[in-house]
């Protein structure tokens, strides 16, 4: 508590030194008012909203469903890169990475991946992508695409070129007017 008081005093001293005018203004109460009892019910509102979202969104899906992985990444990439070309390129990378996850080189690795990846929910993966989208960069995807360009890693029965095309077409169709507007 003393530490907190010291910090506040230090901040006020700093302000007093660089701007006595603003230091004096600080004594005024905040002009921003809040409706009466606003905070009494706020947490209930948020929890209610979360429950509704949970009820509406599908629960845990089979994480090994390749279609789901591709869809989740494409949804995010559509917003990030906003270019069909890059989305296509990134999709190849994602499919290659998904193939690596599905068909790793050693059995021990499979066990580890099953433990860590299969326990994630759809929402958790979506959130991860949301939160880390800024850390993905186009160059990395291009490099990965180059390094993992051997599509034969993917067995034909899992996904084919036609399926990828369908995904891309479907994604473009599903983009709303606002998304399209942002593209150009």
């Amino acid at each position: 508590m003393d530490k907190q008081r010291d910090r506040k005093q230090e901040i006020r001293d700093e302000l007093k030194e660089i701007s006595p005018f603003l230091y004096k203004m600080k004594e005024k109460d905040s002009p921003f008012k809040v409706p009466d009892h606003y905070f009494n019910n706020f947490s209930n509102q948020v929890l209610e909203q979360l429950k509704q979202e949970t009820a509406e969104s599908p629960q845990k899906k089979d994480i090994w469903n390749l279609n789901f992985i591709v869809q989740a990444f494409q949804d995010q990439l559509a917003l990030l890169f906003q270019s069909r070309l890059v989305i296509g390129l990134a999709s190849v990378v994602i499919l290659a990475v998904a193939a690596w996850i599905l068909y790793p080189s050693g059995p021990d690795q499979t066990a580890v991946d099953n433990l860590s990846f299969a326990s994630l929910s759809v929402e958790e993966i979506q959130n991860y992508i949301d939160d880390n989208l800024e850390t993905f960069d186009e160059e990395t995807f291009k490099e990965l695409a180059h390094e993992n360009s051997n599509i034969s890693l993917l067995p034909a029965e899992v996904v084919g070129a036609e399926e990828i095309d369908q995904y891309l077409d479907q994604m473009i169709e599903e983009m709303d007017a606002e998304d399209l507007e942002e593209l150009f």
Binding site: R7, K8, I11, R12, L15, I18, S19, F21, L22, M25, K26, K28, S30, P31, F32, K33, V34, P35, Y38, F39, F42, S43, Q45, V46, L47, Q49, L50, E53, E123, E124, N127, Y128, D131
Partner: protein, 188 residues
């Protein structure tokens, strides 16, 4: 007697959230502990109460969805401020794109909007402070708000904004000087 939520430590709240059977209780306590601080932080950025309400709700929903990944590398409260700040910036940018951003309005209009706002109860000096803040670059405005109003240490602000302490000090000093200049111009 139920202990005040303010007295409950962040560690206790996090441990409640991490257990499935107490997650809702923990999250409720987290909101009750931080809702007012985050509300006022967001409000100073977006200005309007209804907009603040929307952003704050989105902020806590995002917190709820990602708190399992909070690794404790930073303080919980700086992590919350970071999310709140990002949500507010996203909201402001969306409004700018739609051309409905009050903070981007002409200065005179902003002053009139504030004066007409039933939830703004400031005098002319406080209105002009908001006008001066609106003139600042976004980052300087946020640094000023966190230092001046929230009385946050530079170290904590650096965790919120992921910026060096040296850069923050410079931003704060620049912001203070610009605000002073504004008041000289309007002669209050």
């Amino acid at each position: 007697m139920r202990p005040s939520f303010v007295e409950i430590s962040d560690e206790k709240i996090l441990s409640l959230i991490q257990r499935k059977q107490s997650a809702e209780k923990g999250f409720r306590l987290l909101m009750e502990k931080y809702q007012e601080r985050l509300y006022h932080h967001i409000r100073k950025m977006v200005l309007d109460h209804d907009d603040t309400n929307d952003v704050l709700q989105n902020c806590f929903i995002k917190v709820f969805k990602s708190i399992q990944r909070f690794e404790g590398k930073s303080k919980l409260y700086t992590w919350l401020y970071r999310i709140a700040t990002n949500e507010a910036i996203t909201f402001i940018n969306k409004k700018k794109r739609k051309g409905t951003d009050s903070i981007n309005e002409a200065e005179g209009l902003l002053a009139n909007t504030l004066k007409a706002d039933q939830y703004f109860d400031g005098d002319e000096i406080q209105v002009q402070l908001q006008v001066a803040l609106k003139r600042l670059p976004e980052k300087q405005r946020i640094v000023f708000n966190l230092r001046y109003f929230e009385e946050m240490s530079y170290k904590d602000i650096s965790q919120v904004l992921n910026t060096s302490v040296g850069g923050l000090k410079a931003s704060y000093h620049h912001a203070v000087k610009k605000i002073e200049n504004h008041f000289r111009e309007v002669q209050i």
